[in-house]
């Protein structure tokens, strides 16, 4: 590719240096901002081929570049139409190198997950890990 720089280390004049593998390994490999209401739609994303609406508050995100193994790390959060902040619970959770399925549970920040799941206006995911 044009403009390619090959380097193992980045060095600042005073602040020290960092190995470029920290940059590569520490970069999010996939992310998604989804509207999970109505006929669900992706607002923006990276490295996502499609999202499957499995039912109420239950989505599967599929990746274009698969992960190397199923031990990648993910952060999923959501906001409901009433502005309620949620953490995605792992009920009905499944994870493969090419996709991840999650169900949204509500979490108010004061009380714990009330066990219900629901559609959310904003569903966010960020995935970190090694790519295949």
């Amino acid at each position: 590719m044009a403009g390619k720089i090959v380097a193992d280390t980045l060095e600042h004049s005073t602040a020290g240096s960092i190995a470029t593998n920290y940059v590569v390994d520490g970069t999010a490999k996939a992310w998604l901002n989804l509207n999970g209401t109505g006929t669900i739609a992706t607002r923006d994303s990276f490295n996502v081929s499609g999202v499957t609406d499995n039912g109420t508050g239950n989505y599967t995100t599929s990746f274009t570049t698969s992960f190397n193994n199923a031990n990648y790390s993910h952060t999923h959060t959501n906001i409901t139409s009433s502005g309620q902040f949620g953490l995605t619970t792992n009920t009905n959770f499944s994870q493969a190198t090419g996709s991840i399925q999650q169900r949204n549970g509500y979490w108010s920040g004061v009380s714990s997950d009330n066990g219900s799941s629901g559609d959310v206006t904003y569903f966010y995911i960020q995935e970190f890990g090694d790519l295949a």
């Binding site: 044009a2 992706t42 081929s49 499609g50 999202v51």
Partner: protein
């Protein structure tokens, strides 16, 4: 815009080029399918950035590459992928029409048991439709099924 020659370029780098240079394409197509009698119908929604790459051509790998990786992952002793190079070194597919891209996506993201014999039962297991044909509210979402009226 012409796609650069990406032969041997890591797929992630190809997607970075697509993200930087292509406008997302919001497809109106939706794929409704049923893969279990105990579950409601599922709806596959194409990603706009992925669709832009599919229409552009020269970025995405052939769909058979994903099937090969899925076979590897299905092995009981699977720990990590050793054939990830297939994603990066296989010649990318040329530009697709939106309809061809949907067919590709079905074969990538729907269970194989659905798309290999989607029309073999009493009613279709899978339907490609426009999003306007779906219910506009999510009332009783967990009870949605493909209509029996679609049976030939």
């Amino acid at each position: 815009m012409q796609t650069p020659s990406f032969k041997g370029t890591h797929l992630f780098d190809r997607l970075c080029w697509g993200k930087e240079n292509l406008e997302g394409v919001q497809s109106d197509y939706r794929v409704v399918y049923e893969d279990s009698v105990d579950e409601c119908a599922k709806i596959l929604v194409p990603d706009p950035n992925w669709m832009a790459c599919a229409l552009q051509g020269g970025i995405l790998p052939p769909v058979w590459v994903y099937h090969e990786l899925a076979k590897d992952e299905a092995q009981p002793d699977f720990k990590k992928h050793t054939r990830g190079y297939l994603l990066h070194q296989t010649e990318p597919v040329p530009a697709m029409t939106e309809e061809e891209a949907i067919e590709y996506l079905i074969m990538k993201d729907c269970p194989q048991s659905v798309w290999t014999n989607w029309d073999s039962g009493n009613k279709p297991k899978m339907v490609i439709c426009k999003k306007q044909q779906l219910p506009q509210t999510r009332e009783w979402r967990n009870s949605w099924r493909i209509s029996d009226e679609l049976a030939a």
